[in-house]
Symmetry: C2
Subunit: 381 residues, 2 copies
Amino acid sequence: MKLVRLTYGSTIPAMPYFSSDLLWASGMKLADPFFLLEFQNGRRVVFVNGAEYPKVKKTSKENLSVRSLETETGNDDLECVVSFLKKRKIKKIIIPDSSPVLVAKRLTEAKMDVSSRDDVWFPERIIKEKREIEYVTQAQKAAEKALGVAREVLKNSAVDKNGFLFLPVNCKRFPLTAESLRTAMGLVLEEYGHMTPEVLVGFGKDSSDIHAYSYGPITAHQPIVIDVFPYSRRNGYWGDMTRTFFKGKPSLEVQKMYVAVLGAMEIAMQMIRAGVCGSAVYNEVVGFFEKTGYRERYNCKTGKEEGFIHALGHGVGVDIHEWPILCETPARLAEGMVLAVEPGLYYSKAGGVRIEDTVLVRKNGIRNLTSFPKDLDSAIL
Amino acid sequence: MKLVRLTYGSTIPAMPYFSSDLLWASGMKLADPFFLLEFQNGRRVVFVNGAEYPKVKKTSKENLSVRSLETETGNDDLECVVSFLKKRKIKKIIIPDSSPVLVAKRLTEAKMDVSSRDDVWFPERIIKEKREIEYVTQAQKAAEKALGVAREVLKNSAVDKNGFLFLPVNCKRFPLTAESLRTAMGLVLEEYGHMTPEVLVGFGKDSSDIHAYSYGPITAHQPIVIDVFPYSRRNGYWGDMTRTFFKGKPSLEVQKMYVAVLGAMEIAMQMIRAGVCGSAVYNEVVGFFEKTGYRERYNCKTGKEEGFIHALGHGVGVDIHEWPILCETPARLAEGMVLAVEPGLYYSKAGGVRIEDTVLVRKNGIRNLTSFPKDLDSAIL
């Protein structure tokens, strides 16, 4: 029986039903959801509404044929797609598990035989083309520019008698807040043609949270974790980068944590290459943390896991987090993968330290797409 | 049989499975998807993972109880939710049609009785609280600031001998492009604590497309349609606003279109009030366009619909487009609704004109949350 793969969604983030798969496969940026059909012979057809049709014809990928839904009969978009398929005697459809329930329901009502899958929908996405590597590199450059500005602002700040940072402007003192740092970085990203849903700025005890998002005046001598993930408005690709800064030296305990995270990064960078298993790299890093006294543990008081509590890294492309994941689960690395590598340590009392670079996997090692310094000396401002 | 409503998703746009419903009901901004359960007695429980738990306890809405998934047994988040429900003898679950297929599938596999619905999931969302009206007003102010900058830049530009705009800087000529206008506006929004997935700038013939998105140097004497929809980084609410500008007078034909769109806006603004039906307002505007010579029609040459080809407006809140929709379908307007009203005319040859304000529906009329001028004189720069 003839089978068709159907992908549905919009291709601009923050629009309903955003599908990065669809963006990747079509290359078209559309605010309204549309359809991609793939036939068993490899033929790919995109169905868009009539108003969009003339525009998208120009931007679509080469291997795609673009059709207007208005050339089909039906009361709405889904009926049009069904009528197209029925004319071709296709009744069996497979959709990704991420599709909205509505799509499955409507196809079933139209007597189609629908199934869904939660595997990687386009495994080809994992290996990046030259063009895609360039896109991530650009996003990474934008992240470096934003982090550069944050570092400058932190450097130029002073510490008041309560241990909070402020900026002296015309004899007045303006508290240096997480909010203002986020705005400054957002502005830089925008200038470089990128945007971000959020810049994560977490300081002090908050930084013990892996998605730390602080408010108010920043504190001295404690971790300031800044995680920047810019999305290119031009091409839809992401970058991902984290640095941990300190205004004034942190405690010896935190310095040791920083050095351990840096050591973990070094190990990962040395091991990552085509053919190596992602879980081997992850396990090596976990082993290193344990050896240096950072065993993962459960804090009964706070009810939180502490130590190195997340994956070591993940693919970066048209999603911030995509395949492969560097964790306990085996995942053979291959040339052309682009990976964010982000060891980190988190303790309720001391706070958190995370460092993250995005790298390209090559035959004999990595090419780091990030060149921002990460030694302890340059982290203390 | 006891029934539970389940909403699943993340609450930061551009993160996978973003659910505005969940943002509205929880008030919590989380990058990772989580669960909201509603019991028949009105009780609402949010389930988040252990790492997020301490943080979100602080930001959640008053009527919510927040629980950590780590207090439940199960191999993953969904299993934890299922085990929680089974302990309470609940087997019947209803989810919105926008949920990912995966959720329906996993619940069915766990022997739950799952159904889905495509109605408005939280009808209460349609009537805005005072706080929400304030949020949209702030976003609308950000949109006005951005459009103000666009207007200034267009005003300061000059026209070269080919009819393209340029900016004279230090005796050099920089082409004024749609890209640079978008960047300038994006920067302004960011400064005001807002972001946007896209600023729509469409000029010349492109503007005949309802989602016009042009590239390159802008042309004089033709429509420049700018649609700005800022999202507040603070609270997740949107604004929505469109203006059509001209650098130098456009043709008489386009001027007439502009005046007709303005007339349609006037009619809508006069009619909108609590108790009126949205379709009555829409029909009145359609009638007005027809009377003034702008009947909707199909252009055989281009394969495009022309004239007033979209709805007259839509609700604005935690979605850019939400209920009610001002179209042929009846929808009784009520006090506290916030509506974007956007009449427009689109012709392949002449281009498009659209004007959009966002207003608050009141008992005896509207309060316009937008104060940016829209007469023809101020549109010609």
